[in-house]
């Protein structure tokens, strides 16, 4: 090889998704009208604590230690706003450990919708508002300003690309599925067909799932085997994107499976060789020229065999529940109550709809693994009962407007919040079209 160094270098982008929904408590049809509590704080706390113990804390500690030893290790995280809020409430030490990683400068944080929602499917600017909420949250907790975006479960199409670029981002993650690549390799940086050319990272789902889903099936997977796969990628294919749930390490694959040792071995092995260099997404955008434009007219995602929207909006129940939630937007927003608005957004978290999927076989098993309900029907019933009670609450609000004192308190709270929005976000807010 006598090609110059930069052209032979392959970049490895390793992106981990961190997310925990706020799960609902059992809510019966007969509870509609009681204006009860919707979210199962006790369960959510217990899960946050368990996953912190099994995954977030030990894996973050490992990453921090490795990054200090090998500064060439780079990692990308996307942490949903609902997860950040729950860490703050239940496991502040997790937030601290992510902050420590942020401080190394070797870790990039992506922006996403604050509530890990399907807001991109809603009319109006709910999507943009949630993205700005999330960027503000990242700035508040990690002192970072994200420039690269990832939408909920890598949902993407050209239109989403346009909206994300209008928000000021210069890159986005999606899944490297065959029907959009049409024979091309996922191992390149692509760009949106529009003039601005938002850069697109495409996940190699085979290599990602080899760790996330098939680690144990590989008997278990060894670092040597995995390195041989990475090394087998032709050297002109220069951006390898691996993306998976961060909960893979210790929660989905338990610690005693050796998954953490595997991660340690893999990162060390990559750090010690020369031709694959680890990079954050923005580093790749700075140093790699896009290979080709990529048009994605139809929605894609990283979920299920179909890799479309069917994991959340695939059956009548899911679409009905989603539509009912969306229809509440105008009423909710006409009431100046940040608490109600926040709870409505918690109900937008995609997991609620994911639990209602009635798919079978392998996909069905994955849905069932994540679901706190015995069946998708229970998930639907519970969600709808909550939503109906919530609608009832909102209509009560309209019938009995807040007294003056309360209204004043709400207004000043809203103003206080407004002031906390960083100025750059305010500018951004004015820059996109309504």
């Amino acid at each position: 090889m006598n090609l110059s160094d930069t052209t032979t270098k392959q970049h490895l982008v390793l992106y981990f998704q961190v997310h925990q929904p706020r799960r609902l408590r059992p809510f019966r049809f007969f509870d509609i009208g009681t204006r009860g509590e919707y979210f199962d704080d006790r369960q959510n706390k217990a899960i946050a604590e368990r996953v912190a113990r099994q995954c977030y804390l030990p894996t973050n500690a490992l990453l921090l230690q490795l990054i200090r030893k090998y500064p060439q290790i780079k990692v990308v995280f996307s942490i949903s706003g609902v997860a950040i809020d729950q860490f703050k409430e239940y496991t502040p030490e997790v937030l601290d450990s992510f902050r420590a990683l942020a401080d190394t400068g070797s870790v990039e944080f992506l922006s996403e919708t604050d509530h890990h929602s399907l807001a991109c499917m809603m009319p109006g600017d709910e999507f943009e508002l949630q993205v700005l909420d999330h960027t503000a949250k990242l700035h508040e907790h990690f002192n970072v300003r994200p420039t690269v975006f990832r939408n909920t479960e890598l949902i993407y199409n050209d239109e989403i690309g346009r909206r994300v670029e209008a928000l000021g981002f210069n890159g986005i993650f999606s899944d490297g599925i065959d029907r959009i690549l049409q024979g091309r390799s996922p191992h390149h940086l692509y760009q949106h067909p529009d003039l601005g050319g938002l850069k697109i990272f495409l996940r190699n789902y085979n290599l990602s799932d080899d760790i996330a889903f098939r680690y144990a099936h590989h008997g278990p997977l060894t670092v040597e085997k995995y390195m041989s796969w990475l090394n087998g990628i032709p050297s002109h294919e220069n951006v390898i994107t691996l993306a998976m749930d961060y909960e893979t390490f210790g929660e989905h694959q338990k610690m005693n499976s050796g998954i953490l040792k595997f991660l340690e071995g893999l990162l060390t092995a990559v750090a010690r060789q020369k031709h694959i260099i680890m990079a954050t997404a923005s580093e790749v955008i700075r140093s790699v020229k896009p290979h080709d434009t990529l048009s994605v007219p139809h929605y894609i995602s990283w979920a299920d065999q179909e890799r479309d929207l069917s994991a959340w909006l695939g059956n009548d129940m899911q679409r009905d529940a989603f539509d009912c939630m969306v229809r509440m937007e105008r009423d909710i927003k006409s009431i100046d109550d940040p608490d109600l608005l926040e709870r409505w957004r918690w109900l937008q978290t995609s997991d609620h709809f994911y639990y209602m999927s009635t798919k079978k076989n392998d996909d069905g098993n994955v849905h069932a693994y994540f679901s706190p309900y015995p069946s998708p029907y229970e998930a639907f019933m519970n969600y709808m009962n909550v939503l109906n009670d919530f609608s009832y609450q909102v209509s009560e609000h309209e019938r009995h407007p807040q007294n003056k004192q309360k209204a004043g308190a709400i207004r000043s709270e809203a103003e206080r919040r407004d002031l906390q929005v960083p100025t750059w976000a305010m500018n951004l807010q004015n820059s996109y079209e309504h």
Binding site: F29, F30, N315, D316, M317, M384
Partner: protein, 270 residues
């Protein structure tokens, strides 16, 4: 009750005895079993070389109540003969919310749980109708209980039905409820599904094991049962999704499949 004959044949012919269990004395009578019947059943399952139970529910009863070693029992589910939905005759609808119980009015079928759940459903859906199709030794008591609760105007007792009359009941039903106390299998829910009616079944039934697209509750939890009924009545998308998916699912629950399984087991024994 054919056990003694089976055992005799086994002894005379020196061939293996396979026993098919479709119901036990515990299903029919609960805790207060007829000791004579129990003794016969127990001898039958003891002497059998292999047992085919109609569900895991029944297998568990044989293991725990009859002390049969689990490895001697295979589960072979019932099936349903495919039938076309379009031939269903309709009758004028009696209302938009019709909840149906169809089965013998005996202890085993749990009719009182149905009445109790109906009482609760009526708090939310005062216009709902409840069809009780079937007869049995509890018939007078069920009618009496409904009258006592002053719900007679909401209840429709059809007596024992068969053939086309059943299809007519299905054609007006919004949901079918099977609150059985102990149901070895339960083919009626599959027939309801075939007729395009969503179903709610008790967890204490074999059919619950093969039908993921049904709502399942414990028979004694009438609050849960009422809740499930209300949900199906309230949310059309729930009802349509249940219908659509369960109709697809019963295509895999066939007698053909049951026959193949039984044949393999027979071959293994010879």
């Amino acid at each position: 009750m054919t056990f003694p004959a089976g055992i005799a044949a086994q002894q005379v012919s020196n061939k293996p005895l396979v026993v098919h269990v479709h119901s036990t004395e515990f299903d029919r009578s609960g805790e207060y079993v007829d000791q004579k019947v129990y003794a016969i059943e127990r001898e039958g399952v003891e002497k059998a070389d292999h047992i085919l139970a109609v569900s895991k529910w029944t297998k568990d009863i044989l293991v725990y109540r009859y002390k049969v070693p689990a490895e001697k029992i295979s589960v072979s589910y019932n099936g349903i003969t495919p039938k076309d939905l379009t031939t269903t005759p309709a009758i004028p609808s009696i209302g938009s919310h019709v909840v149906t119980f169809l089965g013998r009015l005996t202890y085993q079928k749990g009719p009182f749980y149905f009445v109790e759940a109906a009482r609760k459903v009526l708090e939310k859906f005062p216009d709902a109708h409840f069809v009780v199709a079937g007869s049995g030794d509890l018939f007078p008591q069920v009618v009496e209980r409904v009258a006592q609760l002053k719900l007679s105007s909401r209840f429709h007792f059809t007596g024992f039905l068969k053939g086309e009359s059943i299809d007519k009941v299905w054609s007006v039903s919004s949901v079918y409820v099977m609150p059985s106390v102990s149901e070895p299998f339960g083919i009626t829910p599959l027939e309801a599904i075939q007729a395009g009616v969503p179903v709610i079944v008790s967890n204490q039934s074999g059919v619950a094991e093969v039908m993921p697209h049904a709502i399942k509750v414990d028979f004694w939890k009438t609050d849960d049962l009422a809740d499930a009924i209300c949900n199906v009545l309230a949310y059309e998308s729930l009802s349509t999704t249940l219908k659509k998916n369960s109709l697809k699912e019963i295509k895999n629950i066939t007698w053909d499949k049951a026959a193949k399984k039984i044949k393999t087991i027979y071959h293994e024994l010879i």
